[in-house]
Symmetry: C2
Subunit: 217 residues, 2 copies
């Protein structure tokens, strides 16, 4: 069934969580689950779960619950896990290298086709089976290979010019670790910002205010 | 003014974002800002901003707006940026190394006091001024130094036993990159999970469904 015209960001953000949770259930050999049981295990209300899934047409059957593998397959399809979007990493430092692990499997909807770094000493080395190229080759590479996603693992200071180059070469989405506000400069670009410093500050707040949280599992 | 008894997780998650945004304004030399202008720049509604800040007593003055540096100082105090909670990293691979940068400054409320890894070859090396110790020394180190926060940059498979050790040594909060569900096993432990794979899947969804998002800046 097609998705509703408008699906809120909160619902979208929960899809990967359902997808991950359902994989756990599969590992445990659980074949079907009620929204009540999902609720208890995911710390979401049963009503929230039903509402979320109803955005995509609903999948459960009254009184039966959800078929785990079917639901996971359908959510995977909605996300586009099998599509293998072409992605490149810009910045082959520790963070860039760490991020390669997210392209290792067929699980994450993306395929890593290139890694770039400004450091000439890294040119030619192989990370997770992908060759590191010098930044000077970024434009030509993008023209030819047409990556759709760029992972920015570079300092904020260089992210402006790099993202400009990437966008001019057709990159339309960024997984952005740079803290540079790409979205303020380009309206039609898709950006997933990862603000790790914000996450650490949130933890510091929780410790300092002795506040556990149950919304983020 | 003291915080309200209950502050929602969404508000708490936005505090670091305000803190970061206000630092940007300071860099630009902006001394005061209305909630309307903040709204336009942060892509939150003015009413949302006022409500968020009112959770902590409010800081603006009707018709004047917010004093940027004062507001930033106060939010920093609420978060506890100056408290320097003692933190250790477990796992000195690429991700663990990349995370050390978040302890470099006095900006993030935490001080990195130790790094641990199971790999004997890493023992004794220095990362960002901190010595890598072998995992066998984790218990004794924690007993002595009493870190409050542990950053788990280890595989899910080993996170269960490692978190058990850490909790038994008094660690009360985790910045968790391991995908292991600590919170399911310990009720009174504070956990900030970072699910990078979920973030990448969210981006893949957005690209596949041609959906930009404006909630996450």
């Amino acid at each position: 069934m097609p998705a509703k015209k408008y699906v809120s960001s909160s619902v979208i953000r929960r899809l990967p969580r359902y997808y991950r949770f359902l994989a756990e259930l599969q590992k445990e050999g659980i074949n079907k689950i009620s929204s009540g049981d999902m609720s208890a295990r995911m710390k979401l209300t049963a009503s929230q779960i039903r509402q979320d899934l109803n955005c995509y047409g609903g999948f459960g059957q009254q009184g039966y619950g959800y078929n785990v593998s079917e639901l996971r397959r359908e959510i995977g399809e909605i996300i586009g896990v099998e599509k293998k979007l072409k992605a490149i990493i810009v910045g082959a430092g520790n963070l860039g290298r760490a991020m390669t692990i997210h392209f290792d499997s067929s699980k994450n909807g993306c395929e890593l086709i290139g890694i770039f770094d400004i450091n000439l000493q890294l040119e030619g080395i192989n990370i997770a089976g992908v060759e590191v190229r010098h930044m000077s080759k970024l434009g030509a590479f993008c023209d030819k290979e047409k990556p759709e996603i760029a992972v920015l693992c570079i300092p904020k200071e260089s992210a402006g010019t790099v993202s400009e180059t990437l966008i001019s070469c057709g990159v339309k989405a960024f997984w952005n670790f740079s803290s540079y506000d790409i979205h303020l400069h380009y309206d039609d670009i898709i950006v997933e910002n990862v603000h790790l410093a914000d996450s650490l500050l949130t933890l510091a707040y929780s410790v300092n205010n002795d506040k556990g949280r149950d919304d983020d599992i």
